[in-house]
């Protein structure tokens, strides 16, 4: 599987899938970007902004399931695929294209 890169985007290799535990997230620091990367129990990958728009909670530390993440600080919920907020008035999360390389590496694209 390969990834079609839009011009003006940069792709990063975040390392092998095993870097992330099942059903959890981790925060990645890529240059000035803080990005939360999630691996669901059935190995879907998602990437969103790391900080909760509510009060900056670390979303990667949240509980994940059913395509959603629950912020660990005040339990605001967001849709992982679209970043849309659920039941709160926060702005949607930034989301980023993320995929798995044929070698099993996590690839994340950012605007350059």
């Amino acid at each position: 599987m390969s990834m079609i890169l839009k011009t003006g985007q940069v792709t990063y290799n975040l390392g092998p899938l095993a870097r992330l535990p099942h059903g959890e997230g981790r925060t990645f620091q890529i240059g000035t970007h803080s990005i939360a990367v999630f691996r669901t129990r059935n190995d879907e990958l998602y990437a969103t902004q790391a900080a909760c728009p509510h009060k900056g909670g670390p979303l990667a530390d949240g509980l994940v399931g059913d395509g959603k993440v629950v912020c660990p600080l005040h339990s605001y919920k967001f849709q992982l695929a679209t970043g849309a907020s659920i039941g709160n008035t926060c702005a949607a999360l930034e989301t980023y294209p993320i995929t798995l390389s044929p070698d099993g590496d996590i690839l994340l694209s950012l605007d350059a």
């Binding site: 792709t11 620091q29 530390d61 509980l63």
Partner: protein, 817 residues
């Protein structure tokens, strides 16, 4: 469209509310609003003048809308300007500041004035009240009284009505000797029956107010300054201050002179219009269907109705009169009256309870199984319910005593219908009554959808009962019962017993297997932690731990804080430590530059603000076990000094507390468990308000309390048993813990659980073994104790990849394709 001009005379409670309501209806686009107010201020809350007089509020704090508010909202206020005449033909008003203002629509909201009786020697030659004599209506009256009271000694209030008693309270608080002279046989005779009046009288006297009943004042004594009062019966009383509070008189002169129809008040129709076109009236100056009012509730309704009519010309809204009820504190006595005070029909049923020695009196008049009237003195707890039944004309329960008494321990409900819309209900998320009600109206008619939509009740949860009442109140019959409230967790549609059965039957040992088998594979993130806790309780050592099912705190064994750092609380058994331990903690704090070191409410030390990636090293250096200040589990056991050192101690509370904590540390429970052991009934460890609390009593015995609370709710625990030995304390404690683990809902604290089960029932089960499960409970809690492993051991072998990483770095940038 050209704007019309709306002129409002009177900037009191009614006038100002009308302006607010009109603005809320976007009426600012239709009207140029011009307000004349005789008082030289913005708008203030007249009701609160009683508090200002009593010193419990500052006069600056009672303003609702200051002058600037009018400016901001484009409303022209002529403050300190009295309207002297209305010309209904030319459609204009003439004000004392020389303004002549034409109107398209006119609203009269002139309120009322104190009714001043004709007393000899009342006025100075300049027609002012004698020095030392006051009426009680305006903020200026109030300031005048406060100034004068500083040098006065003894005051007499003429009139023992509601307002008179409020004035008496105020002056009493200001340190004056206070008397009340009243014409009728008992005080507040308009609202209260004879018995009620009597009870109130003795309460008032106990507080130091002297009452002079059946006394008609006819003269002010003194020359140039009040020195006393003369009564019709020839007697006198000396005093140096007088407050006249003998009723109110609607301000109708202005209307009357303009040819507008008046009787006792300005006559208004159901649409609040007067007898002259384009003129309306609201508030205390009006008379509607024969009634005049002296309370604010009716005028809120009037203002609302008129605002709607003025802004929506096709509105059919009518004001149909108000049923008034009053709830207040007169001199600190809770008092509520509604409807009739005596029976009217022969068939009226009267239910009375009276307890003069405590100043309690409750009376219900029931007609056609509804409340036709009620008086409640000295017990505010039953009032909200009565008010609600009265307002809604609801049918009553057969047992009338349920209405008059509140079972002890029942939490006090407030009458949500009564609260103003801007009352904050949820203090954690700042959600107002108005917001909740409008959300219900917009269709969120089950508790869960309502809470999800407003976030009310999702903080500490202490407002939940009020949110529930509001839902009932706003949804009425349209209330939707939410089946998920009976589920153990929202994402698996089963009650706790059914869930446990299914888990055991299908041998489901991990959270994901539960979702797969019982929830169609849908992994609700909000249900994970609850399921993990339950599975751990059911399977103990055989539980298949999946880390993603844990809340972050339980993944890293510390408590997350608002900036993403964590707090570390090492265990300090029974709150007892040593110099060596303290030194180690101090060293760690220094070495890792811990931003704050804090003594907790749980008798141990908190290292606050530790970064995630430092946690393993911190634990390592501390060399102490985790204090579990994060997970839903046994937390701490506080102790006091006890018999070892304290001169009152009758039991060794520290030794027992340490044993308790060593035995039960880290045991998972549906919600946290906080314990305490006190060495004598002085209860210095606050055992009676703990989930499980122990108190040593004389004779080598120990009392075991369960279901105490002193967090968001406060509850005194119930005595489960009194035992002779420390071993027995541990035994019954453990038995209760295991039963709680099995039976309680997720996140149900013991106080809710014990109350739900009932202490009698729990005693039967746990002491008399009525269900034959005690032996099993003892066995299961022992296995839980045996399978405990200190989570900080993970410092040496992380359980998941990058378990403690703050952030990860990418491996490389991929070359563009």
């Amino acid at each position: 469209m050209q704007k019309q001009r709306l002129v409002i005379i009177g900037n009191g409670m009614a006038g100002a509310r009308l302006v607010e309501e009109i603005l809320a209806h976007q009426g600012g686009d239709q009207y140029d609003i011009v307000v004349f107010g005789e008082e030289p201020y913005g708008n203030y809350n007249r009701i609160l003048l009683s508090n200002v007089l009593a010193g419990s509020q500052d006069s600056a704090d009672i303003f609702i809308n200051p002058l600037a508010w009018y400016k901001e909202h484009g409303v022209t206020l002529h403050a300190g300007s009295r309207v002297d005449a209305i010309d209904c033909t030319l459609k204009c008003v003439y004000a004392s500041d020389g303004t002549v203002m034409a109107y398209d629509k006119l609203v009269i909201a002139t309120g009322s004035s104190p009714a001043i009786p004709a007393l000899a020697n009342l006025y100075t030659p300049e027609r002012k009240l004698q020095k030392g004599v006051f009426a009680f209506r305006t903020i200026d009256d109030c300031t005048g009284m406060l100034d004068y009271a500083t040098q006065a000694r003894k005051a007499v209030v003429i009139g023992g009505g509601l307002l008179g008693l409020e004035a008496a309270r105020g002056l009493l608080n200001r340190g004056l000797e206070v008397h009340v002279a009243h014409v009728a046989k008992h005080v507040m005779n308009v609202q209260l029956d004879t018995m009620g009046g009597k009870i109130l009288r003795s309460s008032l006297e106990k507080m130091g107010v002297s009452l002079h009943l059946q006394k008609r004042t006819n003269a002010i004594l003194g020359d140039g300054q009040v020195e006393g009062l003369g009564f019709e019966d020839g007697s006198t009383i000396d005093c140096d201050m007088v407050v006249i509070s003998t009723g109110i008189r609607p301000n109708i002169e202005l209307a009357q002179q303009a040819g507008i129809a008046v009787e006792r008040g300005i006559l208004v129709q159901d649409d609040l219009s007067c007898s002259v076109p384009d003129v309306y009236a609201i508030g205390e100056c009006t008379q509607h269907r024969g009634c005049t009012y002296g309370l604010v509730a009716p005028l809120w309704e009037q203002a609302q109705c008129l605002a709607e009519r003025l802004t929506h010309p096709d509105s059919e809204k009518l004001y149909l009169g108000s049923r008034t009820s009053t709830k207040l504190k007169v001199l600190g006595v809770d008092l509520a009256v509604m409807g009739d005070k005596e029976e009217v029909d022969e068939d009226d049923e009267v239910v009375v309870y009276s307890e003069p020695s405590r100043g309690v009196y409750k009376k219900l008049i029931v007609r056609e199984n509804k409340i036709a009237g009620a008086i409640v003195i000295g017990d505010g707890s039953v009032t909200p319910r009565l008010l609600q039944l009265f307002d809604r004309r609801s049918p009553l329960p057969e047992n009338r005593d349920e209405l008059l008494f509140q079972l002890s321990g029942e939490s006090k409900e407030v009458n949500v219908a009564d609260m103003p819309d801007d009352t904050q209900i949820c203090n954690c998320n700042g959600v107002s009554k108005g917001k909740i009600v409008s959300c219900v109206k917009s269709g969120k008619r089950s508790l869960k959808t309502l809470c999800d939509a407003t976030r009310a009740g999702t903080g500490c949860g202490s407002c939940m009962s009020q949110v529930k009442s509001l839902l009932e109140y706003a949804a009425g019959d349209a209330l939707v019962e939410d089946p998920s409230i009976h589920y153990y967790v929202p994402g698996v549609p089963l009650t706790k017993p059914a869930l446990i059965e299914a888990i055991k039957e299908q041998q489901l040992r991990s959270v994901s297997s539960v979702f797969a088998a019982l929830a169609g594979g849908k992994e609700d993130p909000g249900s994970k932690a609850g399921l993990a806790s339950l599975l751990k309780t059911i399977w103990g050592k055989d539980y298949e731990d999946q880390r993603d099912a844990r809340f972050i705190n339980d993944r890293v064994h510390a408590n997350i804080q608002n900036n993403g750092t964590f707090s570390v609380i090492p265990r300090m058994y029974g709150g007892v430590t040593s110099a060596k331990e303290l030194r180690r903690i101090a060293d760690v704090a220094e070495k890792y530059q811990v931003p704050m070191v804090k003594v907790t409410g749980g008798q141990r030390i908190d290292l606050v603000g530790v970064a995630k990636d430092q946690l393993p090293a911190v634990w390592n250096d501390l060399g102490m076990p985790s204090g579990h200040a994060y997970t839903k589990s046994f937390r701490t056991c506080k102790t006091c000094l006890g018999s070892e050192y304290c001169r009152y101690g009758v039991g060794d509370s520290t030794a027992l507390g340490i044993n308790v904590e060593k035995r039960y540390q880290g045991i998972e429970t549906p919600h946290k468990l906080k314990l305490a052991v006190s060495g004598c009934p002085r209860n210095c460890a606050e055992s009676t308000t703990k989930d499980i609390g122990v108190i040593a009593i004389e004779g080598g015995k120990w009392e075991v309390y369960i279901g105490g609370a002193a967090g968001a709710s406060v509850r005194k625990g119930d005595v489960l048993c009194v035992v002779d030995s420390q071993e027995d304390v541990l035994l019954y404690m453990g038995r209760f813990m295991q039963y709680y683990r099995e039976q309680a809902r997720y996140l149900e604290r013991t106080h809710g659980f014990v109350e739900r089960m009932g202490i009698e029932k729990l005693r039967q089960i746990l002491l008399e073994d009525s269900e034959g499960i005690c032996q099993r409970l003892d066995h299961d809690i022992q296995s839980a104790v045996d399978s405990y492993v200190d989570p900080w051991q993970e410092a040496h072998a992380p359980a998941t990849p990058a378990q403690f990483a703050n952030v990860l770095q990418p491996v490389e940038q991929v070359a563009a394709l």
